[in-house]
């Protein structure tokens, strides 16, 4: 049944675009199950989109646009297979057509249940984040297939030419086809590895958006929302996985501070200096809920949930001075045990300084000074300078801030560090 509404072509095109963004992940997922090839599935979905663009301006947007797109794409699938069959009568293709017919009967758009759709979408996520692909290819493919971003949008968000992204996506799809990656939710020990890859892709997208600054393209900062949406979708599809909720919690809590971390002139405001009234209470609430879900599932917290729990300590403190630093140190202890790294040790040292005094923290940081992987890492001299300044050793703090400023890639951060260095100069007014 078609609904007739008086709208212009431009309105219809925008409506189709909106329907497409909502429906295409499920559409591509359902089609991949049938044709067992992500690239072909996406082509078929695009065919259906073209058909919608041709027909909907005349006919109006159908009552159930998702079902319309699916039915249209399936017909295209059969057309294509018949055409291939005429070109070369391969047994494989004949067998596949039988399979498609069977699937058509089984998956009538009106009768297939939500759970099937959800399972398909989860399988598609596992495919687009498959470790066989390079991380940047996983990111591009996931944003394209699950977030329904166009190649141009992905390119603008990641500040690379559109041709690069297009090539990345084409190659990724070819790699998946050639490797005959099965369309399934992995089981057993493989599940952990594959899930870790999905979570990593989502967090990569989030961090790319989080590192964007005020003047950047909105598409770039929009990556945070894209990542959150991916995380929330995944949490609905795999609710039994604590780390999924852990990642969602981490992203919600981090995102809750995004407005407070940029000052009026675009400068970076450090966590402890942020105006907590500007934190997004709704996202904090959602983050704490997600963390609770991760904790309720039992077992030791994973790396994402631990980081979320650290963020939650800040989120729960009404003022910076109320922060439960002893608990943060304990959480960093657990994180360091799970994912030992000099960066975690550095963060732990900073927490120790807050909990037990700058001298205790400085001792730990000095132990990291020789760490080769921290050699060019600006946060090491920056943290060391901070603790020295707190101990009243301004003359030693100043070169640390200057060194940190020379190492950071971020212009806003450099300004902040140089300001702190200047405050350590002899005769400068004492900083708070």
């Amino acid at each position: 049944m078609l609904q007739s509404i008086a709208v212009t072509d431009a309105d219809t095109h925008r409506a189709i675009d909106a329907v497409w963004r909502i429906e295409s992940p499920r559409l591509i997922a359902g089609l991949t199950r049938i044709v067992r090839d992500v690239g072909l599935a996406e082509d078929l979905a695009q065919d259906a989109l073209v058909a919608a663009l041709e027909q909907w301006p005349e006919s109006g947007v159908p009552e159930n646009p998702g079902a319309w797109l699916m039915a249209t794409a399936k017909h295209r699938a059969i057309d294509r297979l018949r055409r291939n069959e005429r070109l070369d009568r391969k047994h494989e293709e004949l067998g596949r057509e039988a399979l498609v017919q069977q699937e058509m009967a089984m998956t009538d758009p009106e009768t297939f249940t939500k759970d099937d759709v959800g399972d398909d979408l989860l399988r598609l996520m596992f495919i687009s984040c498959h470790p066989i692909l390079a991380p940047e290819a996983r990111v591009a493919l996931t944003l394209r297939l699950i977030s329904s971003l166009t190649t141009e949008e992905i390119a603008r968000a990641f500040l690379v030419p559109a041709a690069t992204i297009a090539q990345r996506i084409v190659r990724a799809k070819r790699t998946l086809t050639e490797a005959r990656v099965p369309f399934e939710v992995p089981a057993g020990p493989e599940l952990d590895v594959r899930l870790a890859s999905v979570l990593q892709v989502i967090y990569l997208v989030f961090n790319e958006g989080y590192s964007a600054t005020a003047g950047d393209d909105l598409l770039r900062t929009g990556l945070c929302e894209d990542a959150l949406r991916l995380g929330r979708i995944l949490a609905g599809l795999a609710p039994q996985e604590p780390e999924v909720h852990g990642l969602v919690a981490l992203m919600e809590i981090q995102a809750s501070r995004s407005r407070a971390r940029v000052g009026p002139s675009g400068d970076i405001v450090l966590l402890l200096d942020q105006d907590r009234a500007r934190w997004d209470a709704l996202l904090i609430h959602r983050g704490l809920d997600a963390l609770e879900r991760a904790e309720r599932l039992g077992g030791a917290l994973g790396p994402y949930a631990l980081q979320a729990a650290i963020g939650a300590c800040h989120a729960r403190a009404r003022a910076a001075a109320d922060t439960d630093w002893a608990r943060i140190v304990a959480l960093y202890d657990a994180l360091a045990e799970l994912t030992p790294s000099p960066v975690v040790e550095l963060n732990r040292a900073v927490a120790v300084a807050m909990a037990f005094g700058p001298a205790a923290g400085l001792e730990l940081i000095d132990g990291l000074a020789a760490e080769p992987s921290l050699k060019g890492y600006h946060l090491l001299p920056s943290a060391r300078g901070d603790l020295l300044a707190k101990l009243g050793r301004a003359a030693e703090a100043r070169p640390e801030f200057e060194r940190a400023a020379s190492l950071t890639q971020n212009a806003r951060e450099r300004e902040l560090l140089l300001r702190r260095a200047a405050a350590c100069a002899p005769g400068a007014p004492p900083s708070s």
Binding site: A18, K114, E225, L237
Partner: protein, 114 residues
């Protein structure tokens, strides 16, 4: 982009009290809510009590009045706070909602800050 979707009732237009929602409508609404949640769009949603209270400032004088108010369009029924890629996406979700609940208005406003 964050949007507030809500239904309004025009209390300047006398109308019969709304019929209680049918079982089918409730099921379809539950399905749509689940759909928005699964799509990662829904941030918060809730129903609104028809009993409203107005706090008004008239030249510095504050008055508190209990509704209903004859002269205004009141926010009534329910609301959904969603995070969508665009206003068009928010419109599409509102369209799906309106199709289920039938006659009446749904309004969509972008939420800044928050």
């Amino acid at each position: 982009m964050r949007f507030l979707l809500y239904t309004t009732a025009d209390s300047t237009q006398p109308s019969a009290p709304p019929a209680p929602p049918s079982q089918l409508m409730m099921e379809e609404l539950a399905k749509l809510t689940e759909d928005t949640r699964r799509s990662g769009v829904l941030l918060a949603t809730g129903g609104l009590s028809p009993a409203s209270t107005r706090v008004r400032n008239t030249a510095g004088k504050l008055t508190v009045t209990d509704g209903p108010f004859a002269e205004t369009k009141e926010l009534t029924g329910g609301f959904a706070l969603i995070e969508a890629k665009s206003r068009d996406e928010a419109i599409e979700w509102a369209r799906r909602f309106r199709k289920i609940v039938g006659d009446g208005d749904s309004l969509i406003q972008e939420v800044f800050g928050g």
